[in-house]
Amino acid sequence: MAFTRRSLDIDVKSEQERIMNFIQKHVRSRKKDGIVVGLSGGIDSALISILCVKALGRQKVFGLILPEKESNPVSRKYAEKQAKRLDIDYEVIDITETLESFGVYNRRDNVIRSLFKDYDDERHRIKITLPADILNNDTLNIFTLQILEEGKPLWTGRLHKRDLNRIIAATDIKQRTRMVYLYYYAESMNRLVCGTTNRPETLQGFFVKHGDGGVDLEPIAHLYKTQVFQLSKELCAIDEIIQREPSPDTFNSYVGDEEFYFRMPYEMVDLLLYTWENDVPLAEVEKELGLTEVQIKRAYRDFTSKFNSTEHLRKLPPSLM
């Protein structure tokens, strides 16, 4: 079958059945009493909570909303609204204090100050991005750090690997702390922790090892983001969440998934990832997506490099056994 923009369309009913069976099977075979899921106010966790309720009934789904001081305030609002719509039990725990006692903000800000000494965490905001528009911009994945004041760029500099590692090491504690809370609730209620990673995130390694990647089940890891949206619309996730632009919601200024990691709108990531995974002939891709060979190859090169450099995230740790 020739590749078209509709190649990613799914049959909602059968896909929903398949995921429900998967969730039921694992909860049953592990002899667990249900699911705990972290609700971020984003579309992936909204869809997961809907599917879990359909699979297990609302009493067996517990939502945890874990904001911190740098989270977008609407994240919590949307997450609560989604939980209320589903009528599931949920709890909101602000994890700021735990992150502070870990030194997350201090450790990160010390790195920032070593690059821009006047950084003031009261007045300034941080933005970390990759170069925009990979299809038209032949640049490597070099991260840029931007300091914003009142929403306007104040300072911009290249972020070297060593400094990036130090910043990400600190901010990854946010995702890992959420994991720890999820497991506390799951273990004390004899439940499984459900992850919310989708297919592009899985393949491109856009998750934190032992953080949002440290879960028991990943029911939508096989779905492209477009498919997540398609299912979420059909299954009536709240409008605010469906209309939101995907974001990691990790920095104290707004950074979208596209600027932070993927360098393309998610629809294009999905389509090109699909053609990359399925070896669709280049001519077909060019024609259907209106791209040149150079552009497609640029995207593929980025896919391959992210796939290879994150391979260890998808594998079991090496051992002598």
Partner: protein
Amino acid sequence: MESSDPEHSILLERPKEEIDRIQDWIRETVLNRMRKKGVVIGLSGGVDSSVCAALCVNSLGKERVLGLFMPEKDCKSETNDLGRLIASHLDITTITEDITPVLTSAGCYERRDDGIRMTIPEYGPDWMSKVVLPSILDSNRLSISNIVVRDPNGSDITKRMRTRSYLQVVAASNFKQRTRKMMEYYHGDRLNYAVVGTPNKLEYDLGFFVKNGDGAADIKPIGHLYKTQVYQIGELLGIPEKILSRPPTTDTYSLPQSQEEFYFSLPYDKMDIALHAYDNNYSEKKLGEILDVDEDTAGRIYLDIRNKKRMASFLHLPPQVPE
């Protein structure tokens, strides 16, 4: 253990060669395959982390090994003393991160104490506690846990825990292992170092670790060695005697708690033999003869191993994906 009898012995025949093999593997895995610059290892003062640290130092050089001390308020002072002993013995750089404030703000202690009060309502803030399993040699207890609490006057109360109470106490205590692992990953990610996991074969196969806690790591250099074998190579590696002679402890509860009473239900040397016998399909009768217990008891030991292996297999699974 009758180490002279080859059938019963699980000592390594060529321990020096095994040390070389592990050290080659660490070098190859960390530097070439994972492209990391070194390793981070949490030091508990126990034999497993001490042996792992020594293997890493031999294999990578001491300047590529960072030791972490991560005490919290329930730790015994021995943990700190022996941790520092191995670090100075190996002459490695160390960092101390007291995790008590993180645990307090996450509600670890409070949630645990609430869990204990589900069983013992009078449990107070200055009391101490631990969770224990009765010995498998005494009774058919299969995973019914007791809580032992000690009041400020030093008198103990022991009570059987209800499921909900047990689950909450263990879940809350697991904050400790997970917080430590997060701290190890923070330093590992910051320095581009791999994180070392220190489970031995008993712990690995029987699931005595916390998922995303001490069970998580980039490399597990002694995951294939019985505890007896860890001691065996520990001696050859020159691990200080004080560390080798310390009984294995969880150091998770405020009262001293051995691994045997919390999880394994047999002393480690017997558990090693039992696991080896199980994996090699020895009959219950034969296991009974080796351990000098009756056949019923041997049967209970096998049942216990079977249950634990089943649980461990889930803990080792990567997150499950449809199809």
